[in-house]
Amino acid sequence: MTAFPTVATLSRLGATLIVAFMLAGCAAAPDPKDADAVAEYEEVNDPAEPTNRAFFEINLALDKVILKPIAFAYKEYLPDFVQSSINSLLNNLRSPIIFFNDVLQGEFKRAGTTLLRFVINSTIGIGGLHDQAAKWDLEYHNEDFGQTLAKWGMPEGPYVMLPILGPSNPRDAVGLAVDFLLDPLNLWLANTNRDEFIFARTGLRAVDQRARHYDALQDMEESSLDFYAAIRSLYRQRRADEINQGKGSANMPAPGLSKNSISPTPWDGEEASRDE
């Protein structure tokens, strides 16, 4: 098994990252005597913030000239059924990796669903263009090696803005690399010198995902005060939700519940805030 081109691509990316961190400016550490400030610094967990912000700006600029216009044309001008077929096809191609991660997480029922979906959609679903399995109540779910590492107890580490690839952290960056390298289709394409198909698939996935989140990202960019900080928070929350498979919201911190003075029950806030 020689997957040289893929490895070469990844090691180039790795080298870029290492250089980035060597150049990394660090966020000013808080005064260790100020407990609130320390707690906040740990909650933000973004020690390379200046560098991350620089990459965020570059990513945004690239998005504006390349990915965003393509995604806009894709969602506006392609018929809905074509978009949904492409999405189904891409999801179906991910099945081996999803199955692999379902198994590694000990989620055998979900692994079974993934396997059944792959068999049904690859045949009756015309190579994955049609999501017939979902119509038979076998709903799609995603998994990745970053989530598997989380289930195994690996901490996420500090927030990292990857060039081009976007928001991440060491755990998810490793996950991304492992999923990419173990993907059977990618391996086969690499070994048969069909790297252009790997790029085509990756590019199509990027356009598909960008188009799906187009409106939400637009709204967030318009309404947030600090888009970088909002994206950082949203990325972490989404990942936590995916890792918990959507069962975590009861344990989230939220207004009006904690007993301390900053988070009173909402009615204290209503009364007190206006006349204090």
Partner: protein, 210 residues
């Protein structure tokens, strides 16, 4: 209309009976009330906000009214500031809360016109243990595609209900705002005045499009 209400009430009652099952009487009562609160709010919001023919100025007024009536606006605003709330003067707090309300109205009022034809289905209710109830719902889009998961965290006190957080696909509105606003304060030397300046500029630029 009244027919529809009583039908809804009936459907709700049977749904609640079906789901609440063996849960103890009072806890089930709290959950049922929170469920009804969200059901009726969704109904009201769709009635008031999705009609294209209602002038935008009128929709903005309706949205502001519904927002203040059903969300713990000051409580959320206060929680978002966290420890910086203590540092703010009374005047800054008032100004901040007013700007926060404006930002929410300007950011969300137009999203409802896109919601016409969507249906909200409540899937379950879970008490948080601190007197709040999370109402889990799914928004089903007429265009198809997977439903959107929306969890409503409802604070309950003396028979009154107020939303303290909205969690869309696992992402909390309050938590995201807390990170967003907190970052602005830190980048302005820990001063609430810095946040107020940025908020003022933001709401002014959003109002131009109103």
């Amino acid at each position: 209309m009244s027919d529809r209400r009583s039908f809804l009430a009936g459907a709700l009652a049977s749904a609640t009976l079906f789901f609440a099952g063996p849960v103890a009487g009072q806890a089930a009562g709290i959950e049922e009330a929170a469920r009804k609160f969200i059901e009726s709010l969704a109904d009201k919001a769709i009635q008031a906000l999705t009609k294209q023919e209602v002038p935008r100025r009128e929709r903005i007024e309706r949205f502001r009214h519904l927002f203040n009536e059903n969300f713990a606006v000051a409580g959320i605003g206060r929680w978002i500031l966290g420890r910086y709330w203590r540092k703010a003067t009374a005047r800054q707090r008032d100004e901040y809360l007013a700007l926060f309300e404006d930002l929410m109205v300007a950011s969300y009022v137009d999203r409802f016109t896109e919601y016409a034809g969507e249906r909200l289905t409540i899937t379950k209710t879970v008490p948080t243990g601190d007197g709040a109830v999370i109402v889990f719902s799914e928004i089903i889009r007429p265009a198809g595609g997977p439903p959107i998961r929306v969890d409503w965290r409802v604070g309950v006190k003396d028979q009154t209900h107020k939303i303290v957080d909205v969690i869309v696909e696992g992402t909390s509105m309050s938590t995201t705002l807390r990170s967003d606003f907190g970052s602005i304060i830190r980048r302005n030397g820990g001063k609430v005045a810095g946040l107020i300046d940025v908020l003022r500029k933001k709401t002014e630029s959003l109002k131009k499009t109103l």
